[in-house]
């Protein structure tokens, strides 16, 4: 086929282009013609189609995401907000921290290892593009039923991919989640979070300014990877279109990315960069149009200078290629030489592919002929916006009416004991060590806490002990029962997890995993979850700094549970004051903080024992969450508590088991008067944590709780080598450990 130049396009208005195959709707194609005043060239069509896909344009979600900005609490900590590659937060002492969670769900189902690996690679480049050194990763994961044969295919591949990439990059994996639920069969959720650290003055933005400045593409050569992947993967369910439309899989090269990191940090250090953008989804189409759109001028690119891995690629394919491990930098002409030298030092290929112009167009040439001439904003930032219809599904009432309170409960102490063991040995509550032991948690030597602690914690400054903590949480079962509350519970849990380790929660990143936005019921779930999260962030004073939306997670007509995953970042002045989760000393007193109500809807107990999902999720009290966090932080800072563990799925008994097993010490627990032992142990009321208090600190601690109005109930003592609930049962730690640790290896090894 001959080259479809801008000139040719103007002369041949009648030529039909395959816009529908590229996922554009008729009105979208019409709009492109309007913008350009002619038909697009093939290359222009390629760019618009990927950039206007759901994945890149957020066309279905942005009307709802707006609230995160509109309702954002005023926060002195926020340095860069939503819209950049990742948000940036001030953590004091001149340091800034950037973090973001992103999804790689569909690619990970098709090719678990590479899908997950490139997911890690992509989020790390986002962090790097902000000017930060990446310092840690986390991986919230969701799979189908634990004993389903396809889980055996998907899970080990995903875990090996995350480990293979992250370990080779030298980034400690400090936490995440592993959840099994048959709703994710065929739609596993592979979310990845990265954290980076920089000094305030090192913050970089993705914009191209200064006419005459050079556009440098550096990193891997461009190949035919994932061409069209963005539009196909993000806008269609792949099973409905069949395998023929499956795009080529992208293969990650973590070694190349490690070089890219070191090389990029070195060019930052020498202040050689005006603007920078990573290449992720939509590759060069995205990087050039976003850089130009956010900058002051236009941009001119000579596409034939792009180094290729496959010389047969067409210009359209080069523009759409999602080859990994590439970055694009804007560099002043007199600094280009030094920039290329540093790339050479790190064996990174770097090529000047164009320059910033004083016009307002993005112009792309192929062997001297112009193939793209567009206003960059129309590609990058002014894509379509949908106000998709949404409606509360008619089954929601019946679901909520199907109250878990009516489920049969254990009849006697023997049955209670048996159900405790079933809970701690169930796929979602069992130890995930078989998985997390495949991740390096030590590299870089700043990991203060890692899985299975409540949050991961990284030391930022060796001298002062300044550190950050991050936790991610999400509970699709709660969100299915009530998406508004479910999203708030996800935030509340992550917030509580950060506070439990002694860090002050500062900011939020979220990954919203939902079904098809074309289904009004799913759209309602999405709208409700956004509203819930935005409202809760406002109350907790933790702004959303960025995140990601993954739609079309469904098989046929069946969507996954709505699954908002929330990451919270907190700061701690001195990591030496952190609070771990393990009971550390015999004789210390165990306190339960917060109120326990009878709340079993969506609970782990209802799932494990009755395979039931119905009723309402636990109630949210954000003021209580705030107060609890303040107490946990003060207790940690002032040395009043030696261990803390938040309560979430599985309730009190799950938390007790984990704190006992981690430290290898038992506990003797007394059920408070007038409390039902079953509810005491299994309820999942939010806003709670357990702490262990040295006897010498008891008075000080209870005085503090009393003065602040936080219920604190002494429920027992760290003691012996069993978990004993007096008058009910006693389970030796060895038995608990066997039950808790044997399941996952038995399913997967």
């Amino acid at each position: 086929m001959s080259l479809d130049t801008v000139k040719h396009a103007a002369e041949t208005p009648e030529t039909e282009l395959p816009w529908a195959e590229l996922g554009l709707k008729p009105d979208e194609y019409e709009r492109i013609r309007e913008i350009l005043g002619r038909r697009p060239t093939g290359a222009e069509l390629a760019m618009y189609s990927v950039m206007w896909s759901e994945h890149c344009s957020y066309k279905s979600s942005k009307v709802h995401l707006k609230q995160f900005g509109e309702k954002a609490p005023v926060s002195d900590a926020m340095l860069v907000g939503i819209g950049e590659n990742a948000g940036v937060v001030d953590v004091g002492q001149g340091y800034a921290v950037t973090f973001k969670v992103e999804s790689h769900n569909h690619p990970s189902y098709i090719e678990p290892y590479q899908g997950a690996a490139t997911g890690v690679g992509g989020i790390v480049r986002d962090i790097l593009a902000m000017g930060a050194r990446p310092v840690a990763v986390m991986d919230p994961l969701r799979f189908g039923a634990a004993d389903h044969p396809d889980t055996r295919r998907v899970l080990p591949g995903v875990v090996a991919g995350i480990g293979g990439y992250g370990n080779c990059l030298g980034l400690p994996n400090i936490g995440g989640e592993v959840v099994f639920d048959s709703c994710y069969q065929g739609n596993p959720l592979v979310n990845a979070l990265a954290v980076g650290v920089m000094k305030h003055e090192d913050i970089h933005l993705a914009k191209a300014s200064g006419a005459g400045n050079k556009v440098i593409l550096y990193g891997a050569r461009t190949g035919g990877d994932g061409i069209g992947g963005v539009s196909v993967l993000a806008s269609e369910t792949f099973d409905s279109t069949g395998p023929a439309k499956r795009p080529a899989v992208q293969v990650g090269d973590p070694f190349q990315e490690k070089l890219l990191i070191e090389c990029t940090l070195e060019v930052f250090k020498e202040k050689l960069v005006v603007g920078i953008q990573d290449l992720g989804g939509a590759g060069l189409s995205c990087a050039t149009s976003e850089l130009a759109s956010a900058g002051s001028g236009g941009m001119r690119v000579e596409l034939d200078t792009v180094p290729l891995r496959d010389s047969s690629l067409s210009p359209e394919e080069i523009l759409m290629s999602e080859s990994q491990e590439r970055m694009c930098a804007i560099v002043e002409p007199d600094k280009v030489g030094r920039f290329l030298e540093i790339c050479e030092k790190w064996d990174v290929i770097a090529t000047v592919i164009g320059e910033v112009t004083d016009g307002d167009r993005l112009e792309i040439f192929w062997h001297g002929e112009q193939i793209v001439d567009v206003p960059p904003r129309t590609v990058a930032h002014e894509g379509p916006t949908y106000h998709r219809p949404y409606a509360r599904p008619e089954w929601q009432d019946a679901l909520q009416a199907d109250d878990a309170a009516k489920l049969p409960r254990p009849k006697d102490a023997g049955e209670l004991r048996e159900q405790v063991l079933r809970l701690v040995g169930s796929p979602n509550q069992a130890s995930k060590a078989w998985i997390t032991d495949q991740y390096d948690r030590y590299v870089l030597g700043n990991t203060v806490l890692a899985q299975p602690e409540d949050s991961g914690m990284i030391r930022v400054d060796e001298e002062t002990g300044l550190g950050v903590a991050v936790a991610t949480d999400g509970n699709g079962r709660y969100a299915k029962l009530d998406p508004y509350t479910g999203a708030q519970l996800a935030l509340a849990e992550a917030y509580r997890n950060v506070a439990a380790t002694g860090a002050k929660p500062l900011a939020v990143s979220d990954c919203l995993n939902f079904g098809s936005p074309e289904d009004p019921a799913v759209m309602w779930q999405f709208a409700e979850a956004c509203r819930g999260l935005a409202d809760a962030c406002q109350v907790l004073g933790t702004p959303v700094t960025g995140g990601n939306v993954s739609l079309y997670n469904q098989t046929g007509e069946t969507a996954i549970h709505p699954t908002p995953v929330v990451g919270v970042l907190g700061v701690i002045d001195d990591v030496a004051r952190r609070t771990p989760m393990a009971f550390a000393e015999q004789g210390q007193l165990v306190y339960l903080l917060g109120d326990t109500r009878e709340e079993l809807g969506g609970s782990a107990w209802s799932q494990v024992v009755h395979d039931h999902l119905g009723g309402l999720p636990p109630a949210v009290d954000l003021e209580r969450e705030r107060l609890l966090a303040e107490i946990l932080i003060a207790g940690s800072r002032d040395g009043m508590i030696d261990a803390a563990h938040d309560l979430s799925d599985g309730g009190l008994v799950q938390a007790l088991v984990e704190s006992c097993l981690k430290g290898g010490l038992g506990a003797r627990i007394v059920v408070p008067d007038a409390t039902d032992p079953f509810v005491f142990l299994f309820s999942e009321s939010a806003g709670r944590a357990i702490v262990s208090v040295p006897r010498s600190e008891e008075l000080r601690f209870t005085d503090m709780c009393g003065a602040r109005g936080l219920p604190a109930t002494r429920i027992g003592v760290v003691d012996g080598d069993a978990l004993e609930v007096q008058g009910q049962f006693s389970i030796p730690l060895a038995e608990l450990r066997q039950t808790h640790e044997a399941l996952i290896p038995s399913l997967l090894a």
């Binding site: 098709i110 090719e111 590479q114 035919g224 499956r246 899989v249 293969v251 090269d253 990994q324």
Partner: protein
């Protein structure tokens, strides 16, 4: 006992970081004149019984479903003496 060899290579369009790393190292070691390197896997299977068409068909199926990941890899099956 007969030996069947299954060679599994990444498809040509798929990035092969391993092969690339080897290729980049060669000139440094003083080996010139190699324009491309691809690295793959070789499986040697010892087969009980005769390696007839039926056996080869089964092994091809095994390669397709298990030894190779046909999303990114191609394979060949052959007998070796």
């Amino acid at each position: 006992m007969a030996r069947v060899v299954v060679d599994v290579m990444l498809k040509p369009e798929i990035l092969d970081p391993q092969g690339q790393a080897v290729q980049r190292a060669l000139p440094r070691l003083g080996f010139e004149g190699i324009s491309d390197v691809r690295q793959g896997k070789r499986f040697e299977l010892e087969v009980e019984g005769p390696v007839d068409d039926a056996a080869l068909a089964r092994i091809r199926e095994m390669a397709e479903t298990f030894l190779a990941n046909t999303v990114i890899e191609d394979f060949t099956v052959r007998t070796e003496s």
